[in-house]
């Protein structure tokens, strides 16, 4: 493949141990009720009420939403707008743990007959237990399954972590390989797919070996492991699906995803726990790292724990970071405050040092063509960005602005340090998004437009 860029992995620090640790329990969590503007949920508790670990605290009020569960046991202390890691404010439920009657772990209730559940039952479980795809987009899982329908031939388990620092899937697959595979089997049956393919990058050889041996012992013939060249953005679902299908795309990238739906490995683990042990989605593995943290490691974090707490419990920071990110350095979201909560889609909490995030001085384009060669969807970022910079969004769109998957390669590679992606986004949304505004990452998929976007 000609396109894409090589990034320095920087994954060693958090892979010193494959184990996913757990830090002492959070004293307070703020669980956001919704993750996209389409979702509606009804809180079913009052302020002052006591809730237990895993208790349902909000029910979905529309088909687009999933239930919300308490991720620690304690007392509801507040329901109001709190800072949200993807920008702006969102309604969240605050739970404060009290010392007595604290339950530390989820008590599993094994579901009988979990191997023979019908599609409808699985969909119901997904919605009831709050399952979403554990990537920053956080699509509700039942909706994603419905969208795929029953026509897919492939199911792709995405464990490519092409962004630097992030190793959650690597660690998860090393420590819980069989659970992930069983989760995949549940999903495979639900989707009626014939083959399952685990997509890895070529630096994850140990994972490939382990999974291959597990597949061998499970005697699942229709499972295979495929290694891809490690280049960003290999882990992007559209890119992955199009590489696997090797189709000359008549249809769009999204069509490819439906032909070969892509699910994150962590999602399948959560699905396994939900289906087999009825465990709601109350925690997820997160990579803590980025160079400024004292301990770089993978930990299970309750949904809603604040970044501040988490960093403190990982023994704090070495020095004030240049940027605090939710997610990887290429697509992650820079945080303004340390008070934001862990979301279901938080793959990493990164504290990047100043010298890493330092940007050179912006200059004029020297037409070096590097952005064109780095673009994975093969559009011309420089033409789009230049048109957009001059305010001609229509021209930018005829140059293919809509096809951009916002991987950020063009901004990364540009020797003139031009903020290419900002201009391309502006063209896609027909408005200039100023810094510090809420960037809704769903805008690709639906018309889910921004709350509080300033238009210049």
């Amino acid at each position: 493949m000609r396109y894409g860029i090589c990034l320095e992995g920087k994954k060693e620090a958090s892979l010193i141990s494959w184990a996913i640790g757990r830090i002492s329990l959070a004293e307070r969590v703020r669980i956001p009720l919704t993750n996209s503007l389409r979702e509606r949920v009804e809180p079913m508790i009052e302020i002052g009420e006591d809730v237990g670990l895993g208790q349902k605290i909000a029910v979905p009020a529309s088909v687009d939403s999933v239930s919300v569960h308490a991720s620690i046991s304690g007392r509801i202390t507040d329901i109001r707008d709190f800072p949200y890691p993807l920008g702006g404010m969102r309604t969240a439920i605050e739970i404060t743990a009290h010392e007595e009657n604290r339950r530390e772990f989820y008590q599993p209730i094994e579901r009988e007959d979990w191997n023979n559940l019908s599609r409808e039952e699985i969909l119901k479980i997904c919605q009831e237990l709050g399952l979403v795809d554990l990537v920053p987009e956080m699509h509700p899982l039942h909706k994603k399954i419905l969208k795929v329908g029953e026509k897919s031939s492939f199911l792709i388990i995405n464990a490519c972590e092409s962004e630097p620092y992030i190793t959650t899937n690597h660690a998860l697959l090393m420590s819980h390989p069989v659970e992930v595979l069983k989760g995949a089997e549940i999903l495979r049956k639900t989707l009626g797919a014939e083959r399952v393919l685990l997509a890895l990058e070529d630096h994850q050889l140990e994972v490939a070996e382990l999974i291959k041996s597990k597949i061998y012992f499970l005697r699942w013939k229709n499972y295979e492991v495929k290694l891809f060249r490690a280049r960003y953005p290999q882990g992007n679902p559209s890119i992955l699906a199009s590489d696997i299908l090797k189709a000359k795309f008549e249809g769009s990238g999204k069509f490819a995803e439906i032909e070969a739906p892509v699910f994150d490995a962590a999602t399948l683990y959560a699905l396994y726990e939900a289906v087999v042990y009825q465990k709601p989605l109350i925690e997820r593995p997160v990579t803590i790292g980025g160079g400024c943290t004292v301990e770089s490691r993978n930990v299970w974090l309750p949904i809603g724990a604040s970044f501040q707490d988490v960093l403190r419990k990982c023994r704090g920071l070495l020095r004030e970071p240049g940027k605090l990110l939710m997610g990887g350095p290429m697509r992650g979201f820079a945080q303004q405050s340390y008070e934001v909560p862990v979301l279901k889609g938080t793959q990493a909490i990164l504290a990047l040092p100043r010298e890493v995030v330092k940007k050179g001085k912006e200059g004029p384009c020297i037409r070096c063509n590097r952005c064109v060669e780095a673009c994975p969807v093969e559009i011309s970022p420089v033409l789009v960005a230049t048109a957009s910079e001059f305010g001609d969004f229509d021209l930018a769109r005829t140059y293919g602005a809509e096809q951009c998957i916002e991987c950020g390669n063009c901004s990364y590679i540009c020797p003139a340090k031009r903020p290419m992606l900002d201009w391309i986004r502006a063209a896609k949304q027909d408005a200039i998004i100023l810094e510090e505004d809420f960037v809704d990452i769903h805008q690709n998929q639906e018309q889910d437009l921004l709350s509080g976007a300033k238009i210049r």
Partner: protein, 308 residues
């Protein structure tokens, strides 16, 4: 605690524009070395006055338009060095200064500086000098005889075609000519440096030279001798590989270098060979925007064009 917010991506590649330009300057070093050896103080003089003229232009523009001085990006120096390498060693000082001032002022700064110029500034300067002082531009010296200082003699490139030096001499370039256009070996070393640093596509010089060679052959000239003289190799390696004035894409650059080759042959045939190449490059530069429109990547992964 507050952290500065910014849109992604949060990291960026380490290469920068000044770095790229200074690398190109470094690739000129073999050539500069050879020209210093060939013409000694005359070469030093040409380089010094050329740099002086371009710096004057740069400072004047900074002063006039109250901009920021952009010397650090090296593009002014690069322009003046490229221009100096295309000048004969005997050119009077004031002409050199005027030429390089013109190159930077009208070739680069009036369009807005680095990244905005439609025509290659060094070629602009060269064409200006050739049109204004055609006679002075055709005087030169025999290289390697600097110490005995023979009188400069009038020399036209056509003469070279008549008394073609033997092949080793052609490659080493110790025959009368401009400062840097004669030594093919040094030019190729510079080209290889550029290629090794991934600053150029290899097809661009190769296609250009091939085109010129084939067409010249068709016109009855010697196929490879016709490209070894007259600065064709120099232009192929250092001028049409300039990123700013050539098309964006690799495919576009291929078309560009073939087009430039054709134009060079046509103009060399019907005008004096000295001016022909300069005008040909300027004309090809003018076609760049069309090439960019015509040959651009259109996206392969999805076809959501027109759909919001």
């Amino acid at each position: 605690m507050r952290v500065k917010t910014q849109l992604p991506p949060h990291i960026s590649a380490s290469s920068s524009v000044p770095q790229i330009v200074w690398k190109i300057v470094a690739a000129l070093f073999p050539l500069i070395g050879v020209s210093l050896w060939f013409y000694q103080w005359d070469a030093v003089r040409v380089f010094a006055f050329s740099v002086l003229g371009s710096l004057t232009a740069e400072f004047l523009c900074t002063f006039l338009w109250k901009g920021k001085l952009t010397l650090y990006d090296g593009s002014t120096i690069l322009t003046s060095l490229l221009l100096a390498l295309m000048l004969p060693p005997t050119l009077p000082a004031w002409m050199i200064i005027l030429g390089s001032f013109f190159a930077v002022f009208f070739g680069k700064e009036v369009f807005g500086g680095l990244g905005h110029m439609p025509f290659h500034p060094a070629i602009v300067g060269r064409v200006f000098l050739q049109v204004t002082f055609p006679v002075s531009m055709s005087f030169t010296l025999q290289p390697l005889e600097g110490l005995s200082r023979p009188a400069p003699f009038l020399w036209m490139k056509e003469e070279i075609y008549l008394n073609m030096p033997p092949l080793p001499g052609l490659l080493l370039g110790n025959y009368p000519g401009t400062l840097g256009e004669t030594c093919i070996v040094a030019i190729l070393v510079g080209g290889l440096i550029l290629f090794w640093q991934r600053l150029i596509y290899w097809e661009v010089p190769v296609l250009f030279v091939l085109t010129v060679s084939l067409i010249s052959w068709g016109m009855g000239l010697h196929p490879w001798e016709s490209v070894l003289v007259g600065g064709i190799i120099f232009v192929a390696c250092f001028i049409i590989t300039d990123p700013v004035t050539t098309p964006l894409t690799r495919e576009g650059n291929r078309v560009f270098s073939v087009l430039a080759g054709v134009l060079v042959c046509v103009l060399r045939k019907w005008t004096s060979s000295l001016e022909g190449i300069g005008f040909a490059i300027l004309m090809a530069n003018a076609l760049t925007p069309w090439l960019d429109q015509w040959i651009r990547p259109r996206g392969t992964r999805s076809n959501e064009r027109g759909k919001r």
